[in-house]
Symmetry: C2
Subunit: 336 residues, 2 copies
């Protein structure tokens, strides 16, 4: 059962190709009777239009690209759900591309998108990304792009983020209120907007509560799990080791807990922990984990909704459409 095309359908019905096409698109030029005939035959012969022919002619791919660092991460997988929920409604497909935190990969992906494979892009940049030429190139080639979560500050387009500064502040202040006075911050990137804003919030909270920051307590983690474990373990073994930790990203949770177990540090007695995390299992960890929970699904949904608005109106201006959706501090046993 090879797939049938519009020409064969036309021959079958003794109609022209253009009539078929119009009938399938419910054009006013075609009589109801003919439309019904076409629809019926189309269903009977199992006609499925070739998307490439449509896209080539119509300049619409009906695809959006979602470029993220990683899929095995609660935040991103929930965001994908949010994105997919609107894409599906609009009859669009979602092309998910992973950068694995590599700038090179990110550049190649965006470059390829210039060919028109997608009509628009949602991007959460890699941890290595510090330049934004590749993003500007894509945008100026006419493909709308919206950032979500991890953004290039300097690019003039919509950015859907959460309140990273405030969240960093809240997390840190919470630890202080729970009695911590030596608080470490686990970062994931030197250049990433989210890391830096969360870190700034951390600094501000320390400042506001008359605690002084210590460089040794700012740990730059990497994309390598083993290495992160070693870094964290090392941090906790220092003579003036921290009694509170803010982990700025979900994937640091497991190495952090494991390091505490290995060093026989009791959470929250010896060290209190807050993680930026959307883990469903946060509440059943040992001990349950205090989190900054991000509105992942909403962020994805909002970004996608905005992108489709842009695609609908040709002259939409994304520059003034940024949005900040707040995260929430969920207090659990790792800090109490």
């Amino acid at each position: 059962m090879k797939n049938i095309n519009i020409k064969e359908l036309a021959r079958e019905l003794k109609l022209s190709v253009s009539t078929i096409s119009k009938a399938l698109h419910d054009s006013y030029e075609i009589s109801d009777k003919t439309k019904k005939r076409v629809l019926k035959a189309s269903a009977r012969l199992n006609y499925v239009p070739n998307p490439y022919a449509s896209s080539l002619r119509g300049k619409r791919s009906k695809n959006i690209g979602v470029v993220i660092p990683e899929v095995a991460d609660s935040f991103f997988s929930l965001a994908i759900n949010g994105i997919e929920s609107v894409a599906k409604e609009k009859g669009y497909h979602v092309l998910i591309c992973l950068t694995h935190e590599s700038f090179e990969n990110e550049k190649n992906i965006l470059k390829e998108f210039q060919g028109g494979r997608v009509d628009g892009v949602l991007l959460s940049i890699s941890g290595e990304t510090s330049k934004s030429d590749h993003v500007n190139d894509l945008i100026s080639s006419g493909i709308p792009l919206i950032f979500f979560d991890r953004v290039c500050e300097e690019v003039e387009t919509a950015k859907i983020t959460t309140d990273d500064f405030e969240s960093g502040y809240k997390a840190t202040e919470h630890l202080i209120q729970q009695g911590c006075d030596k608080i470490a911050f686990l970062s994931i990137s030197k250049s990433l907007s989210i890391s830096n804003k969360r870190l700034e919030g951390y600094f501000k909270a320390l400042l506001d509560h008359n605690l002084k920051a210590d460089k040794k307590n700012i740990i730059l983690c990497s994309n390598n799990a083993k290495q992160n474990y070693a870094l964290i373990k090392n941090l906790l073994q220092q003579k003036n080791n921290p009694n509170g930790i803010v982990a700025s990203v979900e994937k640091l949770t497991t190495p952090l807990y494991k390091a505490c177990v290995a060093l026989k540090l009791k959470i929250p007695r010896d060290v209190k922990i807050v993680c930026f995390s959307n883990l469903e299992t946060a509440s059943i960890l040992n001990p349950s984990l205090t989190t900054i929970t991000q509105p992942a699904f909403e962020m994805g949904k909002t970004a996608a909704t905005l992108l489709f608005e842009t695609l609908a109106k040709s002259n939409f201006n994304l520059k003034k459409e940024s949005m900040v959706i707040p995260s929430t501090l969920v207090v659990r046993n790792s800090t109490t």
Copy 2:
């Protein structure tokens, strides 16, 4: 900077369109000198070929479709990583489509794929799927399809699975060896191959150890988290409540743990638990969770590799290419 096309590139170089195309594909018909000129100009003018034009003519989309029930699940997100790792190497894109466990969605997605949007498909069927006409239709329209994890037994194509029966057996036997004599099984679907095989393994283990199965201990969970929580709680409240539980799917972990907390049942003292799960946090749960860990990444990688082999050779026969990759029982504190 609007995207340039091959015609403009040809005009720029005073060459014909066909020469450009051949040069870019490193055809033997074109001299090295011309090739270099073309490559250089192509880079300078930032030429990116239109994928739809190529696909339309060449019958190759350079896309594969990955159809899965859910992305916010460790198994699937790891499998995606495996798939993506080979796709990237082959220069392919991955179109991820979510069924959200709905048969209707699955049918629509596969139907659309018949149009040629993808060159091949990797499918893990929805919990509702019990018929396979939609799959056979797609395959007979000429698009190769490979199942991974959740398969339609009756469809004649390659299936990359894990040893579900043995895993169900191992999980159950482990509980028995730990002293459980009333063991419940949490299923996710009546029709799903994985559920049923795991359940059969469970039955066989009970039989081999002279324990008799009890219908009340087989719980059919749904896609609704709240409802699952209620079902599990109800199970644990029965007068003859189980002292061992096999949860056949990852997403039941959290409701199960929460139900135990709510009922003040101590794990593993009052009830021992084994979950089919790839959660990274299994080791830091309260208590750490004994799991059947599936080779998610490998399964994705294997399925994708096989698919690309099929795409390379036109006469590849997938019927004899199924593969079973074993899961492993990882014993932790929820059973000891």
